[in-house]
């Protein structure tokens, strides 16, 4: 039992124990802000890392295409299978193409692309940069007078921003295509009819804002995973931690950002 003299000390220890994670979180946010500022300066300053940017666009964009296309296609099929039953019950089966297409282009395509990319790309960047950090490759780059934030982080972040809307279009395309295949297998329907029914009433404001919002998802994936990778420490275990935290944090931020962006899109478009 605490005596009156030891009681205040115990209370202070409790406050310190509570304060430590809070302090670490504030430090993390501050460091992330400073890192983002350095990246922003690096993106807009010469020399531009064109060759490295294209290499990263290939690694992040082109190499993610099969997985994203598959995820989009699977989503289209599942949407078709699930929605057919519900719409038939309410006598609105003719709306099936429109439901699949609207659902894919407005929300399902972008969010699936964001989450799948945060897994594949986020883990890849976090592990690669983490491994470069613990094997002193980032130090070696710095020692040779090259800014690693510019060469490694800015190029990857920019590639994520550019690649994400393109990958989203691919997910939408394969989702719609396989959605039609699933529809026509259940009840034969030509692609032309499926598209004319589904795209009736679709405007650019239905397609562009949700597609372009994935550029923000790309920014989140790039910044978070580069930051987590470049501050990696503690050998191979640290690299594993960086890869995991890159995926977890970027997925979390994408979900939160999606809610805010959907609200903004509804407000302004």
């Amino acid at each position: 039992m605490a005596t009156p003299a030891t009681a205040p000390r115990l209370a202070m220890d409790d406050v310190r124990a509570f304060g430590k994670p809070f302090q670490a979180m504030v430090e993390w946010v501050g460091d992330l802000g400073f890192f983002s500022w350095r990246v922003a300066k690096a993106i807009f300053s010469r020399p531009f890392e064109g060759a490295e940017f294209l290499r990263q666009l290939d690694a992040i964009g082109a190499k993610s295409l099969p997985l994203i296309a598959l995820a989009g296609a699977a989503t289209g099929v599942v949407l078709s299978l699930q929605t057919r039953d519900s719409l038939t019950r309410f006598g609105a089966k003719s709306l099936l193409p429109a439901v699949i297409i609207f659902s894919l282009i407005k929300e399902t395509g972008p969010i699936i692309t964001g989450l799948i990319a945060s897994g594949r790309v986020g883990a890849g960047i976090g592990a690669e940069l983490g491994s470069m950090r613990v094997t002193e490759q980032i130090d070696a780059m710095e020692a040779s007078g090259v800014d690693p934030v510019k060469f490694l982080a800015a190029t990857r972040i920019l590639a994520c921003i550019v690649a994400m809307p393109l990958l989203t279009l691919a997910a939408d395309f394969f989702g719609i295509l396989l959605g039609w295949v699933a529809c026509t297998l259940a009840e034969p329907m030509s692609l032309r009819l499926f598209l004319s029914n589904g795209l009736h009433g679709v405007t650019f404001s239905d397609l562009l804002p949700p597609t372009l919002k994935t550029a923000i998802f790309g920014l989140i994936i790039g910044v978070v995973s580069c930051f987590q990778g470049m501050r990696s420490h503690g050998g191979t275990e640290g690299v594993g931690r960086s890869a995991t935290s890159s995926v977890v944090l970027s997925s979390l931020f994408i979900i939160v950002a999606d809610i805010l962006l959907v609200r903004l899109i509804i407000e302004f478009f």
Binding site: Q137, D139, E142, A143, G145
Partner: protein, 250 residues
């Protein structure tokens, strides 16, 4: 004589302090390197030898004290000034730190492509010349994971020499190498001093290598300089740690 006193030392360190949390690794370190000499820094593990090198090149920031690289104070330099200063310094890391997504040729060409305006053909020739100078040629297309530790050190050294630095920093250049390869790396360091008059600072545990290459020894203990002198001069030191070194090196 007056001109000589005005010449800035390649590296001048004064009152250097560095702590990580509660642990002080360097505590008021002061020394100057002499141009064209090889200086070996020795000490127990954890005495801040590798940290010292990272402070000298500006990868780590000191808590207190000043570091002057060829007269330029790098503690107060802007990132651009720091990068300019770094071009005059070559750094060989303990594990070589070759970029593992690049071939050997691309590794050595990396600083050349970034800091010079050499054409592809000129760059290619220069890379071959550099690799040849460290006894490596013919394996330029291999990836770093496909070559041995000794070969990695040679490639790392070729990369460090790419911009014709006036100062070289070596972090445990012979660690993990067999005695023959270690002797070859030591020979290269001596050749660089004798033929190119490069100033080198070598962090090592390897007393045999230190004896072969060092013009001067700095022994660190508890973040301070325990001994600063020639290899032969260590015999006169009464310090038990130095005495142990003498015994081990005998």
């Amino acid at each position: 004589m007056e001109n000589q006193t005005n010449i800035e030392p390649p590296i001048a360190v004064e009152g250097l302090r560095k702590s990580f949390g509660a642990q002080t690794v360097l505590d008021g370190l002061t020394f100057q390197l002499v141009a064209g000499q090889v200086t070996c820094v020795l000490g127990r593990s954890g005495t801040g030898k590798s940290v010292l090198l990272k402070l000298l090149i500006g990868i780590e920031t000191p808590d207190a004290g000043s570091i002057r690289l060829e007269g330029r104070d790098i503690s107060s330099a802007t990132p651009k000034e720091l990068n300019e200063a770094r071009k005059k310094v070559g750094f060989l890391f303990q594990q070589s730190a070759l970029y593992d997504s690049m071939t050997i040729e691309e590794n050595v060409a990396f600083p050349l492509r970034r800091h010079t305006k050499l054409s592809d053909a000129e760059c290619h020739d220069r890379v071959h010349q550099l690799l040849e100078s460290v006894g490596m040629d013919g394996d330029v297309g291999k990836m770093p994971s496909d070559i041995s530790g000794g070969m990695s050190k040679r490639v790392g050294l070729a990369r460090a020499l790419a911009l014709e630095p006036t100062i070289l920093m070596f972090d445990e250049p012979t660690a993990g190498l067999d005695p023959i390869t270690a002797a070859e790396i030591a020979k290269l360091i001596v050749e660089l001093r004798d033929q190119r008059h490069i100033t080198s600072i070598v962090v090592t545990h390897d007393l045999h290598t230190a004896r072969t290459i060092a013009d001067r020894l700095i022994v660190l203990d508890g973040g301070k300089t325990l001994f600063d002198g020639t290899f032969e001069g260590r015999n006169e030191s009464k310090d038990p740690f130095i005495a142990q070194f003498v015994k081990d090196a005998a």
